[in-house]
C-alpha cells in the first residue's frame, strides 16, 4: 500500500513529476497555464526558441506509438533548447521483451534529465517515477485509460483563452469516457479549476462505474446534455469499440452521439468545440462543425506546444 504521499510533488509542494491532474492543487494548474501564456508569445515570434533547457536531455519513451503527441513534445523540448532523444520501444502485448524498469534503468545511466512516457497500461509512469533516480522528472504523455495531463492542460488553456472565467461555465464531454484517459484528466482539471457543471454524454456501455463520483452529471441523450453548454469537448471513438460489443456500428454512434451542426445549435450560440485529435470525421464529429466557426481544434494544437514547454520548463527548474 503506497502510503498516500503525492508522488508528483516534492517536499516543497512543487511539481516534480507530472503524472496525473488528479491530486494537483489548483495553484499548480494555474502556474502551468500562466507560464504557458508566456510561451505562446515565444511561439509567435521569429525565433521560437528560448535557452531555458539548454544542455538538458529529454528522452521520449513511447511504449505506445504516437506520432502527433511525440512530435509536439519534441517540438516543445527543442524550443526550450533541450536535447531530445526519441525511443520508440516496440512492445507488442505478446512479445516479452525487456521490462519497462530495465529499459528505464539503462536510459537513466545515459544522463537523462526528463522522461516523457506514453504507455498502454494505466500506472506505467507512476511505476517509472517510483523506480527512477529521484533527480529525473517524469512526464506522463498518456497511460492506458488513466491520464493524459498535458492534453487536459492544453484543453483548459484553450477554454481559458476563449471563455476567461471557469467559474460560470457549463461543459459537456461527449464520447467514450470509459476508455478515455483524456476525459479523466479533463474532468479532474475542470473540477479543480472550479467549473460548476460538468456533463458526460455517452451510452451506458461507454461509461465507467460510479462515474458521478468524479464530479460529473451523466447524460445519455445528447440533445438534453448539450442544452446551453458553453464548451463541447468531443472524444475520439476507437474502432475496437465495435469489436468489443460496446457499440453496434460507427453509423449508429454518429446518429446518437455525433456532433452535427443542429446538435451544436442546442448549445449556447458562442459555445466552442474542442477535440484532442485525430478526428474521425463522420463518426464523432461532422466536418461542418470540425471546420466551422465554433471549432477551436486548430488553436488547441498551437496551445499544446506552449503547454508542453511550460510543463517541461517548470519541472526542469524544480
Amino acid at each position: 500500500m503506497f502510503l498516500n504521499q503525492n508522488p508528483q510533488l516534492n517536499k516543497n509542494g512543487e511539481l516534480h513529476h507530472l503524472l496525473s491532474i488528479d491530486g494537483l492543487p489548483a495553484a499548480i494548474l494555474q502556474q502551468i497555464l500562466d507560464t504557458a501564456q508566456s510561451f505562446v508569445g515565444v511561439t509567435e515570434r521569429e525565433i521560437k526558441k528560448v535557452p531555458l533547457l539548454r544542455g538538458k536531455a529529454i528522452f521520449n519513451l513511447f511504449f505506445e506509438p504516437s506520432t502527433r503527441t511525440r512530435t509536439t513534445f519534441e517540438i516543445a523540448a527543442k524550443r526550450l533548447s533541450a536535447d531530445v532523444i526519441n525511443l520508440a520501444v516496440n512492445l507488442s502485448s505478446h512479445a516479452k521483451g525487456e521490462s519497462i524498469l530495465d529499459t528505464v534503468a539503462n536510459l537513466a545511466a545515459m544522463q537523462a534529465d526528463m522522461f516523457v512516457v506514453r504507455h498502454a497500461s494505466s500506472g506505467a509512469p507512476h511505476l517509472i517515477a517510483r523506480h527512477v533516480n529521484p533527480a529525473i522528472h517524469v512526464v506522463n504523455a498518456g497511460d492506458g485509460r488513466h491520464a493524459h495531463p498535458t492534453q487536459a492542460l492544453l484543453d483548459v488553456f484553450t477554454i481559458r483563452h476563449y471563455k476567461k472565467d471557469f467559474t460560470n461555465l457549463r461543459i459537456a464531454i461527449v464520447g467514450d469516457i470509459l476508455h478515455s484517459r483524456v476525459a479523466r484528466s479533463q474532468i479532474h482539471a475542470l473540477t479543480t479549476l472550479g467549473v460548476p457543471e460538468i456533463r458526460v454524454i455517452a451510452p451506458r456501455t461507454l461509461l465507467p462505474a460510479l462515474v458521478e463520483t468524479l464530479g460529473v452529471h451523466v447524460y445519455h441523450d445528447m440533445t438534453k446534455g448539450l442544452k446551453n453548454v458553453d464548451v463541447v469537448m468531443m472524444l475520439r471513438l476507437q474502432n475496437e469499440r465495435m469489436q468489443g460489443a460496446f457499440l453496434p456500428s460507427a453509423q449508429e454512434y454518429f446518429k446518437f452521439y455525433g456532433l452535427t451542426a443542429d446538435k451544436l445549435a442546442l448549445a449556447k450560440p458562442n459555445a466552442i468545440v474542442l477535440h484532442p485529435g485525430p478526428m474521425n470525421r463522420g463518426v464523432e464529429i461532422d466536418s461542418d462543425v470540425a471546420d466551422g466557426g465554433q471549432s477551436v481544434i486548430l488553436p488547441q494544437v498551437t496551445f499544446g506546444i506552449a503547454i508542453r514547454m511550460a510543463v517541461m520548463g517548470i519541472l526542469a527548474g524544480n
Partner: protein, 166 residues
C-alpha cells in the same frame, strides 16, 4: 539605515537626461515589472510614437538551475518591430548586470536592433558583468544583504528596502 531617494524625483531627472538624446522612433523596452512601470512613465513624458514594450526575462536568466521558474511569469509584450530600431532598455535597479544580459539575449531572439542603450533609475554598484547605464537617475550604496525594490501605489513610484534573508 540608508536614506532611500525619492523615486519620482529620480524619474524626473532621468526624463531630463533622456529628452535631448532620444528620437521619436525609439523603442522603450521596460523589464517587468519595475522597468515596465518606468517605461510607461517615460513613454508619456517623452511623447514617443511607439508604445513601450514590456519584457519578461524569466526564460533567459542564468540562475534557472538553482531557482527554477518563478511563479509570477508574465508574457512579454513587444508592440513594435525590433529589426533596425534603436532601443532603450529600462530597468529600476541596476545591480549585477545579469538581468540586463538576459534582456539583451532575449531581444536578439526577437530581431536585430540597430542599437540598445540602458536607462536605470538607480545604480547600486556590485556589477559582475561589463554593463553600464547610459541614462541614470542616481547611484546608491546599498549593503550587500539588502535588496532595493521599486513599488507603485496609485500611480506613484517609491523605493523600499528589504532584507535578502526575508
Amino acid at each position: 539605515m540608508i536614506a532611500l531617494p525619492d523615486a519620482e524625483q529620480l524619474l524626473t531627472a532621468l526624463i531630463a537626461q533622456m529628452r535631448p538624446q532620444v528620437s521619436a522612433t525609439v523603442g522603450l523596452v521596460g523589464i517587468l515589472t519595475g522597468g515596465a512601470w518606468i517605461a510607461e512613465r517615460l513613454h508619456r513624458a517623452l511623447n514617443l510614437a511607439t508604445a513601450p514594450a514590456a519584457l519578461d526575462v524569466s526564460f533567459y536568466r542564468d540562475d534557472f538551475a538553482a531557482e527554477g521558474l518563478k511563479h509570477e511569469i508574465q508574457p512579454s509584450r513587444i508592440p513594435f518591430e525590433i529589426d533596425g530600431r534603436d532601443l532603450i532598455l529600462v530597468d529600476d535597479v541596476l545591480y549585477t548586470g545579469r538581468t540586463i544580459r538576459a534582456a539583451l539575449n532575449e531581444l536578439f531572439d526577437y530581431g536585430r536592433p540597430k542599437s540598445i542603450r540602458l536607462a536605470a533609475l538607480i545604480d547600486r554598484g556590485g556589477r559582475e558583468l561589463p554593463i553600464a547605464a547610459q541614462f541614470l537617475g542616481a547611484a546608491l550604496e546599498v549593503p550587500a544583504s539588502y535588496n532595493v525594490d521599486l513599488e507603485q501605489t496609485d500611480g506613484r513610484l517609491r523605493f523600499v528596502l528589504r532584507n535578502k534573508k526575508q
